[in-house]
């Protein structure tokens, strides 16, 4: 009995160390926040269109599995993910919709001319209110919306090739994206 008691600190230490090891090895960044809107209907929005195109609203997304990408020309990580969004749109044939967060249309145009335009349609969110409704806390953020208009997944930060393979494509396939 006594001897078992002496082992207790060692056991507690091992439990704690094991917990830390799990948390460290999972590769999860604790500063990335879970979305409050997972499995909830996407917030309604109606934004002005870009460059003479018609505006973007939630109804345009309905009936398909789509990605909604919040981006800005002033956002450096957005530049890094743009080629991957191009790949999603061109090779995987996923409809990607862009919401230009707090950006001037002229700057957005320059950004897209330079890096390519993967977006089926773009909405201009110059006030940032639509972003707040989605719970965006920093661009880029990408939302996966299913056919019924529910948010199924949110990706914070620039999409990497690894994240695309491991997190986005399986979910897209599961939801039956074309």
């Amino acid at each position: 009995m006594k001897r078992a008691l002496y082992l207790l600190p060692a056991i507690l230490f091992l439990l704690l160390a094991g917990y830390f090891a799990l948390a460290l090895r999972s590769g999860r960044d604790p500063s990335l926040l879970p979305s409050a809107l997972i499995d909830k209907p996407a917030p309604d929005f109606a934004l002005a269109g870009f460059d003479g195109a018609p505006g973007l609203s939630l109804t345009a997304l309905k009936g398909q599995v789509a990605l909604v990408n919040f981006f800005a020309s002033w956002c450096v990580p957005c530049r890094a993910e743009q080629p991957l969004l191009m790949r999603l749109a061109d090779q995987e044939h996923v409809p990607v919709y862009g919401i230009a967060y707090k950006d001037k249309p002229a700057d957005t145009k320059h950004f897209l001319d330079q890096l390519g335009d993967p977006y089926r349609q773009i909405g201009l969110d110059e006030s940032g209110r639509t972003a707040i409704d989605f719970g965006v806390y920093g661009v880029p953020e990408t939302y996966l919306i299913d056919k019924s208009g529910h948010i199924r997944f949110r990706f914070v930060g620039p999409i990497t090739a690894e994240a695309l393979e491991r997190e986005l494509l399986p979910r897209l396939k599961q939801l039956g994206a074309s």
Binding site: G128, I132, G135
Partner: protein, 155 residues
């Protein structure tokens, strides 16, 4: 040097009251503004994650302050205004987590550990006291004779 010290003191005093709230953001009605400020200081800025939106200079904190004031001015109760933000950003925005089953461990864990530790210490102290109080049984005849013999050998 003295002047520098005074300047430093003044700057430090300024630091105490400085909020990130800009004059243009404030509501005209001081009562509403006070309510907005009280709510805002309980809401986490999601960009810096360790400051309230009242204290943060982040762009998003500014937007949320303005939005919060719009809601308050439009007649939202404190709870409604808080819920409006929580719906969008989740419970993580609350600097003080709500008391509900998911947060019981958070709220009651530390007091529970304290109580357990106090019980353990009390038990331990009692055991020690009992040990100290326990006197050995008086010597029986055989022992007394052996003791007397040992003592006589010594001398």
């Amino acid at each position: 040097m003295k002047r520098f010290g005074l300047l430093l003191l003044m700057l430090m005093a300024l630091g105490g009251v400085a909020h990130a709230v800009e004059p243009a953001e404030r509501l005209a009605d001081p009562a509403l503004e006070a309510r907005a400020r009280a709510i805002g200081s309980e809401l986490r800025c999601l960009v810096c994650q360790n400051e309230s939106i009242e204290d943060s200079n982040a762009d998003l904190a500014h937007d949320l302050r303005v939005l919060l004031r719009q809601r308050i001015a439009a007649g939202d109760s404190d709870q409604q205004a808080i819920d409006f933000i929580v719906q969008r950003y989740g419970q993580f925005v609350l600097l003080k987590p709500r008391l509900e089953p998911a947060t019981y461990a958070l709220w009651f864990g530390p007091p529970a550990v304290l109580v357990l530790a106090m019980i353990a210490i009390a038990l331990n102290l009692r055991r020690r006291r009992d040990q100290a109080e326990a006197r050995p049984a008086p010597l029986d005849d055989a022992e007394r004779q052996r003791l007397a013999k040992l003592l006589s050998e010594e001398s």
